[in-house]
């Protein structure tokens, strides 16, 4: 077994998973450290979403190990997973917003269900919860939608609410499953800008599953500048720091590429090159 670095937030070690005879994940191995970003490309059904679900323990693996924040969660019981899941925010592909709850209740849900588990503190006061919810909805520029229901919002707005719910507890790792799928380019860019802003404001680790090369390119090359409040090209000389972004490419459950953007662009693999578009 390889040594697990203490700064690693997620480590997949030879993970395999099959549905009937179809491999969903086929001997997948990779690791990511705190503050790093992973952009996952792949065709539909290639196993991108399954990486996120196995990382969270929502899907059990057939073999291999999943190590989350230094703990081997591969065989954790459901109840044992709740405390460690509270360190992970997630935006689901379908949104996953509770349609019977208002936007404010949706965003408050992790605060009411996870915070006590993570900190070992008592429950937050009602005023604290309301403040955090409003603050987080303002972050995604939806502070005026508190009393609305998800069905009253557009697709892009629902994704932004999903981001707010994913980050309201300030988790050190956030998983984004196809956050820009099916959105117009303007809304898609707004979503990616919000994700970059969230990542750089708190230096969180992030995994972004997407089909769009532009999303990965922005994640790898742009940073949020708190002084200007804008997303700007990352240049260490300007004091914005470097972006630690790597790209993964999935094909039929196999991880066929793991490297930097420059390596991705230089790849001669025909399948990998399909995801490099300008």
């Amino acid at each position: 077994m390889a040594d697990i670095a203490t700064s690693e937030v997620l480590h997949f070690e030879d993970v395999s998973l099959r549905f009937d005879q179809t491999p969903a994940l086929d001997h997948v191995s990779f690791a990511m450290s705190a503050g790093e970003t992973r952009v996952v490309f792949g065709a539909a059904g290639s196993g991108k979403t399954m990486i996120l679900k196995t990382a969270l323990g929502l899907q059990k693996v057939d073999s291999g190990r999943v190590i989350l924040f230094g703990e081997d969660v591969t065989n954790f019981k459901e109840s044992a997973l709740y405390p460690i899941r509270s360190k992970v925010g997630v935006l689901f592909q379908e949104g996953g917003l509770f349609d019977s709850l208002t936007i404010a209740e949706n965003v408050a849900y992790p605060l009411l269900n996870q915070q006590a588990r993570r900190n070992g503190d008592g429950p937050l006061s009602e005023a604290d919860v309301d403040n955090r919810v409003l603050q987080t909805l303002n972050f995604v520029e939806l502070g005026s939608t508190l009393e609305k229901f998800p069905s009253e919002l557009s697709g892009g707005m629902r994704r932004r609410v999903g981001i707010a719910r994913a980050v309201v507890t300030e988790p050190p790792l956030v998983l984004y499953d196809s956050p820009t799928a099916g959105l117009d380019p303007i809304t898609a860019n707004l979503i990616i800008h919000l994700i970059i802003k969230e990542r750089d404001s708190r230096n969180t680790a992030a995994i972004l599953v997407t089909h769009r090369y532009q999303d990965g390119h922005l994640m790898a090359n742009f940073r949020y500048n708190p002084d200007s409040g804008q997303i700007e090209p990352a240049r260490e000389a300007q004091g914005l720091g470097s972006v630690k972004t790597k790209f993964l490419v999935m094909n039929e459950g196999r991880l066929v590429f793991d490297g930097s953007e420059a390596e991705l662009r230089a790849s001669q693999d025909a399948y990998v090159r399909k995801f490099v578009k300008y």
């Binding site: 929502l58 992970v88 689901f92 379908e94 996953g96 509770f98 992790p110």
Partner: protein, 233 residues
């Protein structure tokens, strides 16, 4: 899932609000149709049995036949079939929609056990309200039978209610209450099971809904076939 749902009855957290909401949805929501069908079953039973009993000059026994048939069999079975059609489908479609829109995964990711939050409240609510609905259906059915006895068979109200009440023994009441309790377990768990196992988008939700109604209806007849011989005296 069934074992976890029962175990959760005694574990925290308890979602009391969800239990009351489900009691309202299942109990109050099903009340009009249960009253309607109970009433007409009593009338139909009174008419058909009255016709047969008149042949032997025994129409005075109509109260006994209606009460025994309703309390032992038709009340519990008809009520359960109605509730299965209305609520097993409702539960399966609601949970199925939540499954395909990843709300159940979101619930797990956000620190909530979906069995505790979604299944156990429906199980508790159904176990509580289905026996009550059955008692109401029995009483309304007896009233329907009374209208036939009074209007067509020339009996007095007192004669009818006296024969109906005296015909019932402890075992009839026990059978009439045990059955809906077991039916409640089947209807709620089958609805939840098919809902939680839904795959394949909206088409899958439709399929889960159909399966939940068909399977729970079949189980209602299977269970009643096993219970009846135990009380056959």
């Amino acid at each position: 899932m069934a074992a976890r749902a029962f175990r959760n009855i005694f574990r925290t957290p308890h979602y009391a609000d969800d239990i009351f909401i489900q009691m309202d949805v299942i109990g109050v929501g099903s009340l009009p149709i249960v009253i309607l069908i109970g009433f007409f079953s009593g009338i139909i039973m009174g008419l058909q049995m009255g016709r047969a009993l008149t042949t032997y000059g025994a129409q005075g026994q109509i109260g006994m036949i209606v009460s025994i048939s309703l309390v032992r069999e038709f009340g519990p079975v008809l009520t359960a079939l109605l509730v299965a059609g209305r609520n097993a489908s409702g539960i399966a479609s609601e949970l199925g929609s939540m499954k395909v829109t990843e709300q159940i995964d979101a619930m797990r990711a956000l620190g909530t056990d979906p069995i505790q939050k979604l299944v156990t409240p429906r199980l508790i609510a159904m176990m509580f309200v289905l026996p009550l609905l059955t008692v109401i259906a029995d009483f309304i059915g007896l009233f329907g039978g009374a209208l036939i006895a009074y209007g067509l068979l020339n009996m007095t109200w007192a004669e009818y209610w006296s024969t109906a009440w005296r015909a019932l023994i402890y075992q009839d009441l026990a059978q009439g209450l045990i059955k809906p309790f077991l039916f409640a377990i089947i209807i709620s768990l089958v609805g939840c099971l098919y809902g939680m196992r839904t795959t394949g988008g909206t088409q899958g939700v439709g399929l889960a809904t159909t399966k939940a109604v068909v399977i729970s209806s079949i189980w209602i007849f299977v269970i009643t076939s096993f219970i009846d011989p135990l009380f056959f005296t």
